[in-house]
Amino acid sequence: MNAPDRKAALQGMGDSRLRKEDARFIQGKGNYVDDIKLPGMLHMDIVRSPLAHARIKKINKEKALAIPGVIAVLTADDLKPLKLHWMPTLAGDVAAVLADEKVHFQMQEVAVVIAEDRYIAADGVEAVEVEYEELPVVIDPIKALEKDAPVLREDLAGKTEGAHGKRYHHNHIFTWDAGDKEATDAAFKNAPVTVSEKLLYPRVHPCPLETCGTVASFDPIRGELTTYITSQAPHIVRTVVSMLSGIPESKVRIVSPDIGGGFGNKVGIYPGYVCAIVSSIVLGRPVKWIEDRIENLSSTAFARDYHMTGELAATAEGKILGLRAHVIADHGAFDACADPTKFPAGLFHICSGSYDILAAHCTVEGVYTNKAPGGVAYRCSFRVTEAVYLIERMVDVLAQKLNMDKAEIRKKNFIRKEQFPYTSAFGFEYDSGDYDTALDKVLNAVDYKGLRAEQATKRADPNCPTLMGIGLVTFTEVVGAGPSKICDILGVGMFDSCEIRVHPTGSAIARMGTITQGQGHQTTYAQIIATELGIPSEVIQVEEGDTSTAPYGLGTYGSRSTPVAGAAIAMAARKIHAKAKKLAAHLLEVGENDLEWEIDRFKVKGNAEKFKTMTEIAWAAYNKPPAGMEPGLEAVHYYDPPNFTFPFGAYLCVVDIDKGTGETKIRRFYALDDCGTRINPMIIEGQIHGGLTEGFAVAMGQLLSFDAQGNIQGNSLMDYFLPTSVETPHWETDFTVTPSPHHPIGAKGVAESPHVGSIPTFTSAMVDAFAHLGVTHLEMPHTAFKIWKELKAHGLTH
């Protein structure tokens, strides 16, 4: 085979290789948690609170226990002797495993029923009687901070110091700030122009199609616990389970099998998991718990609920001089955000975006309310979605105030290509970017001038049946958490890992600390190794998710797999490559300096006929290594990233709003992403389609709302908006490639960009449709009814 054919045969980086994982999924042979069936397995179901805030007066288990097939009913009182009725959260708080004397949100876990099958367990749940005494409910985080607001967390009474500093109120969790307050105040004081806008990022839920669940199996003879679990971070689960249960980490095996979508919903450790594990330990039999959809939407990690105020200071010509952001963050009843320990508001301080802003300051105040805990989930690491929404909205607001074009004001304020690496006012060091090129490419592709001309014509025509809006966003993301000097979870640094073994006949296996939930790791990771080592992707097995076999890693969320684990793969492969070179030199009887690498082989420089392929080298590694060299061909690498990566993009959306009904048609959505080096373009495009669709859902319809009594409204798919193929727009994708200079293969990560970037683009378009009427902001979700009310307020409809 000639060189190009050999290269193609590897299906390495850049190849739109079809997915290795598909064969099992298209034939119904996936292995999700609910597919696991163990001998003697029991089923667990959960008794949940109908009230959002109430004291538990009495729990009567008798009727439930009388049902044939019900094995046990556990409450907080049963967990107390084990000290497991409360558990630590990832954010330095504690959360009730089962409600201890008091419930803090509707659908909170109060008791569990373990039974012979899932139907009997459900019967048992119906039969458990709980007497409550209602308490006043706080749903609004701003009201929660009022002086005489009800005390939600009695367990924290008198604690003025939280995990993240001083608490100034009984419902206050933390106040965190970043940037330079004085410099920012000075910039605002002297600025010719300032703008301010209140922006609510409402509470939504990631709602992966598979709910959360577990099968816990404790072997009382061996003292070993095996737990199959829907987790995006199985190794951290193992560490936490070991800490909670006292079982040595070496006897705890956590397995994340196939996962039916995660989107951040499956990072946390939920009471259901803990109760199933405890039940299995107590009963000595495997226990399965599978959540239903209503439980999933009501009690597991929500996203957002950020009540933000954004302010910009600028010159009259639109050069931004300062940014100020203030947030009241509703964290629900327990602070259970899965942020790096030092960042209680995640990476919200990316909120200076793609713009060269010299002075910036942000403050985030975390607050308790009678809602479910959680807080960073939904295809976004660590509050980046909120940050991007804030800056992109505010740049639009400033443009409107100055009567400037949205594209023009962005170009005026972009960090220039030659400024990278660029240190932002908040201290992030942006690795690389070329924002002007990306924006120009989009503007040309859609004929931006033509669209603006069409809009002007339509605005001038009172008989035009639609309002046309053009949304534009130029976002910068921060992903790849993260450098362990600043990023840890429960004290464990946020590195990731890879172990590669090349077998004697030249095929290989690689194991990682991450876990795919649809991203296609089994396909793309193999491609990195194929390019690095010249072994065809087809014969590289990729395994993740089993803590007994995979090296320790922090898991998959926040687009960290490629930036962190992807780097670990390249580095592990390079260790093997270095050993292979020594073997090749030995086999060819030349010095290492006489060799050059070509696709899948080392060849002697200047003599194309003398070479050793990786397959030949692998055999030699097990068969006749040179004197003094260990046999075998394998390597492990734990990669601690030196920095985050900073993917970016330019998105444009055109909407047509029906003046009669308020219904919105997404005429066009053009998404240009730059995720650095592209490993598998087909998979990247698929991820972008999915992220855009989730963004569309958030912007146009999703909302977890509550009434004044704390009743969650819309917690089934009857009400919670998941777009079907009919509503979902057609997506146009594009790209530029600006590799990350600090990443071994230059890749930055892609999955969350389309979610983060598209949401403000939709709002930008919706507001733009009304901008000529003086509207500067519209709150999500942009449902037809809300838009119809807006039309009516402007006399555009009857």
């Binding site: 079809l18 997915r19 994982e21 598909d22 064969a23 099992r24 999924f25 298209i26 034939q27 119904g28 042979k29 996936g30 999700y32 609910d34 597919d35 069936k37 899932r118 139907y119 709602c207 992966p208 199609l209 598979e210 709910t211 196939d258 996962i259 039916g260 979508g261 989107f263 599978i290 239903d292 959809r293 209503i294 939930q517 649809g518 991203q519 296609g520 087909m682 998979i683 495009e685 698929g686 991820q687 389609h689 999915g690 992220g691 855009l692 669709t693 989730e694 089934s716 798919l717 009857m718 998941l722 079907t724 193929s725 009919v726 979902t728 057609h730 997506w731």
Partner: protein, 165 residues
């Protein structure tokens, strides 16, 4: 709870089992028949992950009792491939990257199988409407549409050329 003997044909095989009247078809298939392809995503007939084919119609097996299927012909995703050869819809989803996490896929495939049987030459809009009872959280549907188009073309080609098929 008392049980009732039911018999039905699942993927071409006659099965006879004792079930409680309240047993849902999806649990019967997954737990009794060990056919775990059909998944449960919502329990309210919205997501379609549990879609199977019953007597020539797409049915959401999470809201259908097993006893209602007495005497029925049931096809699940496990019954689509024949003689070790993938069905055109399976091939289409693979070739056009019509799946990511795979959880919705069995329902999508059984729905596409019936949809293309009923409408062998659909427009994109007809595909989008025809598949709208099945939710996907990963793909944004664009590649699912392409996958169904791929399968439609393949099925039409196969029909023209039955020997090769």
């Amino acid at each position: 709870m008392s049980k009732k003997i039911i018999s039905m044909n699942v993927n071409g095989k006659k099965v006879e089992e004792a079930v409680e009247s309240r047993t849902l078809l999806v649990h019967f298939l997954r737990e009794k028949m060990n056919l775990t392809g059909a998944h449960i995503g919502c329990e309210t007939s919205h997501c379609g992950a549990c879609t199977v084919d019953i007597d020539g119609e797409s049915v959401k097996s999470c809201t259908c009792f097993a006893v209602q299927c007495e005497g029925s012909e049931v096809i699940t995703v496990e019954g689509l491939a024949q003689g070790g050869v993938l069905h055109a819809v399976q091939e289409g989803f693979y070739k056009e990257h019509g799946l990511q996490c795979g959880f919705c896929t069995p329902g999508m495939l059984t729905r596409a199988y019936r949809f293309l049987h009923d409408n062998p030459n659909p427009t994109e809009e007809e595909i989008r409407v025809g598949m709208s009872g099945n939710l996907c959280r990963c793909t944004g549907y664009q590649n699912i549409v392409k996958a169904v188009q791929y399968a439609a073309n393949k099925l039409r080609e196969d029909a023209k050329n039955p020997v090769a098929a």
